[in-house]
């Protein structure tokens, strides 16, 4: 999968940002925070998981997603997200 496929989607970037910020979340909560509907969120998550950036664990009917810390690309993106938030926060004085 090309990097453009990941970063060209505002929804996918938003999901990555949420996961880097919160750590791990279930689909409904990711959808709520990202302002997306359930099925769109689900599709984005499938793409991100296929790219090896995130992984999930199933507890009964609940799927919980998080960054795949074993993947170097995932770690780099997570670091970028954190750095970005930090820098933006400093600039806006938050």
């Amino acid at each position: 999968m090309m990097i453009e496929d990941i970063f060209s989607s505002r929804g996918r970037v938003r999901i990555l940002r949420i996961l880097s910020e919160i750590g791990e979340l279930n689909i409904s909560e990711i959808a709520r925070r990202a302002g997306l509907n359930y099925s769109t969120t689900n599709e984005h998550l499938l793409v991100l998981e296929k790219a090896g950036l995130i992984r999930h664990k199933t507890f009964g009917r609940i799927r919980i997603y998080r960054f795949d810390e074993t993947d170097a690309k995932a770690r780099s993106i997570k670091n970028l997200m954190e750095l970005w938030e930090q820098e933006s926060g400093q600039k806006t004085g938050k």
């Binding site: 919160i22 750590g23 791990e24 979340l25 279930n26 409904s28 909560e29 664990k57 507890f59 009964g60 009917r61 609940i62 919980i64």
Partner: protein
Amino acid sequence: MPHPSVFKDETKLDINYTPPKLQHRSFQLQLLNQYFRHSVEAPGEMTQRVIVTGKVGTGKTVLAQHFGRGITHEAQQRNINLHYVHVNCRQNKGSFFLMLQRIVTRFHPTFPKRGYSAEELLQTLMQILDDQKAYLIVTLDELEALIQNEGSEPLYKLSRTEETRERAPRRLSLICILREPSWLNKLDASTRSTLQGNLIQLDSYSKAELEDILNDRLRLAFKPGNVAPETVTLVAELGEEEGGNARYSIELLWRAGKYADTENVRDVLPEHVRKAAGSVYASVRREEIAILDLHRKLLLLGISRRFQQTGGAHLSMGEAEESYRIACEEFNKKPRGHTQLWKYLRALASLGIIKTELSTAGQRGKTTLIGLPHIAAADLERELIRILQPTVRGYSR
């Protein structure tokens, strides 16, 4: 200029604070450690259930928390992934679901709050423990609330869940805390049989034990020398009266410190304890004082004034008599004799307005010692004068 606070660190008197050393519960702590020895020596081999009972303020919660801290520390040193979670059933509205959720969020803080049943949540918990190769000791504090709300089911499921997992490591152990073991009779026979066996009964603390606990805490919470020994003695006495209740005693000591701070003084005195006790429980009501006959009121007036002069925790019978005679003179009344006064004292004690006890070591002979545990002496004097003023002629103050 305001005086600095009497406190060094008042958080050490907080209800949720677990002290580094557990006073007068070392045997029970050792017993708990013995029951759960397998958790650190042979994790996964077996599961354990222990019941801890005792009245309010007898150290049940602190015992379990202390144990939890110790055993997780030991497990960490042995590279065993052992967790201790303390859940209060009452705070969780006696809901099995909410309690399980509380436990699961210890492992997954953002775990969704809705969309599954308690049974699914229990399965989730076991799955998490398996995934993380973790072992868990859960304390269910104030278990009465869970039994009252949901009956036998939760305990049955918790204690039997391991049995349905054949050949899997044993991961979940339980400590159940409740005041009265009789609550277990409300459970069905099979649940009861899985729980009963290891029972640790905590007796009420004695006055001397409460003093040890208080002295321990005051060293952590107050600046050195700010709390007089007789202040501690009085707090311990009141704590013993409240059923050997350490929690009440510690809170009372804290409140007394607050009164001292409010008055901007350096020392926490018995009078502050009386004020604090008065603010916690309104044991002495105005009506009770108003209906006393004249000489009982005068005796109380003398006692209240004497306490304010001495600032001590107790008065002797002789001191009370002397102050009573002065009060009689002031109100132009002929004082009653010693035997009559002694009867008055007994009556006042039975009403709970004062407390009497026989003197022990350190005093010549035996005398009746009088305490004023529930009301501040100054408040009592004010109330008595308010009542006596219109009824007694010749009052000239």
